[in-house]
Symmetry: C2
């Protein structure tokens, strides 16, 4: 039998095992990407690698800015477009996995699985390009930079990622490792709304021997940190939320009233209503603290991202495919994550679905994402390719 | 008349105007010292200048460590020793006075008058060396490094500054500028007890989407800052005091529970009893916050300095001399300063008196000490020399 004939044979029995032949290529691509992690908006080497691979696969693509890549696979003029997105950026973390393909760059690491995401999307593009006749959609592949900083999705949208034509939907996916080989699709809300919070507080310096002449910016900042904890304990929202500050820099010396303080934090909610409601309470408390202390407090909400809400029809379509691949290890999730993904900006424009592939390594301790020892069971990457392949082709029907 | 005869003539009329001839030398020395400010324990050039001048004046001296200098003027074997101290160190401040003799070193400035103090002490040594027959004491001159960091006095004590023999007393002085030509001696307590406070707080990091897994060190730090304000408002001490933190560094990112916070501040009181009492309350509040938050809080009290209490007999002797020189502009102060001077360590061993010379410039805005525009009316330096001269000689009787 020719290769094509073998593939068709397997297909007829409803199996996707013929895709296993791509496993080595998939692993190799992940290793290469893992070895050269690049921070947000600096993904030059990564994007060049992607472009080179797409060229090998004979899939047309274009750069967006210096590091984003959009590729398109056309199966038929009349087919709707469907988008699959992978992130490309790494984190400023010193890798401690000890993997043979571990980061070649000190202080940088793919600790959020974006290496796997990019490898999966490249592999998917390869497989689909060789099986165009099965496609139900023309597929657009978005390789997104700067997801970690919350900039990437807007950047890609600004470069027309969802235009000409507007797609029928978008799939995004994520690797986690709290459980071995499984997958999960949230029934509705998948990730949280998030806004970065930056608070600048202006006081007035004075030597401590004239303490009362000063306005203590650090004291005002501390009052705000305490107030924020109270808001967490008392605000009655629709859903759980987290309002918190992660860092403070205040003052200049041990004997001088601090004239300046900066707080940085974030607000995570599962609905825009909660987001706005909590922000309003925060602003009220800020006004009170200003009145009490005399300090000037300026709150800036940065990089606001809405919640990612899975589209009902896409979930209806995705769950049976997941069940076929993972059996009862494909979960319909009820409890969303307080993590955020800027891909929610895409899902505000077109129907979207976020899939989580659980890829804990059998018998090994799982370190969570953003940990210097984060790793996944690479075998699940192939399951991800299979799921996405099935979702986009006749094989998923 | 010979010079000696002229001096005696003026002396007989109870005037110290003959000292005016030293004014130019005094200014020149201050300008030279002001031009080359050196930070604590780095006063190499300054100490070399002092040693060179003392050599010119034929006054024996010895170095203590690399930058301290102790000189001795002997007038008679049976006379008691009296000490006068001047500080030598400058501050890490970029000078903005625009003076013709302003700092030659970027980012360093004599903004606490130690240039004037050293010049006055050198001039005093010169004058006394030429008028030994008037001396009531053998005089020891202490040129102290590192006053600003609170290290200098202990350093000089470790080098035997008050030994062989133990002196009868010590005079220290300070230039301020909130008023034109005047002086002040505090009736009893002159400067505050002070202790540096360093608080290290250990929490547990966790991404905000698992906020409850973390222990928020910054929250514990903020609670402590708020608690400290309450202690200031509620503690019933013998005297006024200031307990405050001046700076905080906490956390690593806007999305991560801070696992580490550092607070630096100080406690200033006018009595050891208040100092210990307030510290005990602070420690109690720390225990409460530890119990509430789960954070580990470590308090370190550094560089503790006692209050400088003026000796009654020295004040009784000093006030009439001050009145003779400054008239009703010589004040007997009732309200001490919450500033501290590590010279209090000397005054715990021997009777001490601290004199403040007020040297605001007529018709000019006065910028306080530690301000990049701090300056003084140099004419008052000569008044300081006169006061000290009179105090140590028959002329003060």
């Amino acid at each position: 039998m020719t290769e094509k004939e073998t593939e068709r044979k397997k297909e007829t029995v409803g199996s996707l095992e013929w895709l296993n032949r791509y496993e080595e290529e998939l692993r190799d691509m992940r290793h290469e990407l893992h070895r050269y992690p690049e921070l947000a908006m600096q993904e030059q080497r990564t994007s060049q690698y992607i472009v080179q691979k797409l060229k090998e696969f004979e899939i047309p693509c274009r750069m967006t800015g210096e590091t984003g890549v959009i590729a398109g696979l056309t199966a038929g003029e009349d087919l709707p477009v469907f988008v699959v997105r992978a992130e490309m950026d790494a984190l400023a973390i010193e890798e401690k996995t000890g993997l043979p393909f571990c980061s070649a760059y000190p202080g940088r690491m793919h600790a959020c699985g974006h290496d796997a995401n990019t490898a999966v999307l490249l592999c998917l593009a390869h497989v689909l390009s060789r099986n165009r006749e099965k496609l139900r959609y023309n597929v657009r592949f978005i390789f997104e930079p700067a997801e970690e900083t919350g900039e990437g999705a807007q950047f890609m949208l600004d470069h027309g990622a969802l235009e000409n034509p507007c797609p029928a939907g978008i799939l995004i996916f994520h690797f986690a490792n709290q459980e071995t080989r499984a997958m999960e699709i949230q029934k509705s809300i998948s990730t949280a709304a998030i806004g970065g919070l930056r608070v600048e507080i202006k006081g007035k310096a004075s030597h401590f021997f004239q303490y009362e002449e000063g306005i203590d910016a650090m004291y005002a900042a501390s009052r705000l940190v305490v107030a924020v904890r109270e808001i967490n304990d008392t605000f009655l929202g629709e859903h759980p939320f987290v309002l918190a500050f992660g860092c403070m820099q205040a003052g200049a010396g041990r004997n001088i009233v601090s004239d300046h303080a900066v707080l940085e934090g974030s607000l995570r909610t599962f609905s825009k209503k909660d987001f706005q409601g909590i922000l309003a309470v925060l602003e009220k408390r800020i006004k009170e603290i200003e009145a009490d202390t005399g300090a000037e407090i300026h709150l800036e909400v940065t990089g606001e991202i809405p919640p990612f809400v899975n589209d009902h029809a896409l979930v209806e379509k995705g769950m049976p495919i997941g069940r076929k691949l993972f059996g009862d290890k494909c979960y319909l999730g009820e409890k969303p994550f307080l993590a955020a993904d800027n891909a929610a900006l895409y899902a505000e424009i077109v129907p979207g679905m976020r899939v989580v592939f659980l890829a804990g390594k059998e018998g090994e301790q799982a370190y969570p994402v953003h940990n210097p020892r984060f790793d996944i069971d690479e075998a699940v990457m192939l399951d991800a390719v299979k799921f996405l392949f099935a979702f986009l082709t006749k094989d998923g029907e």
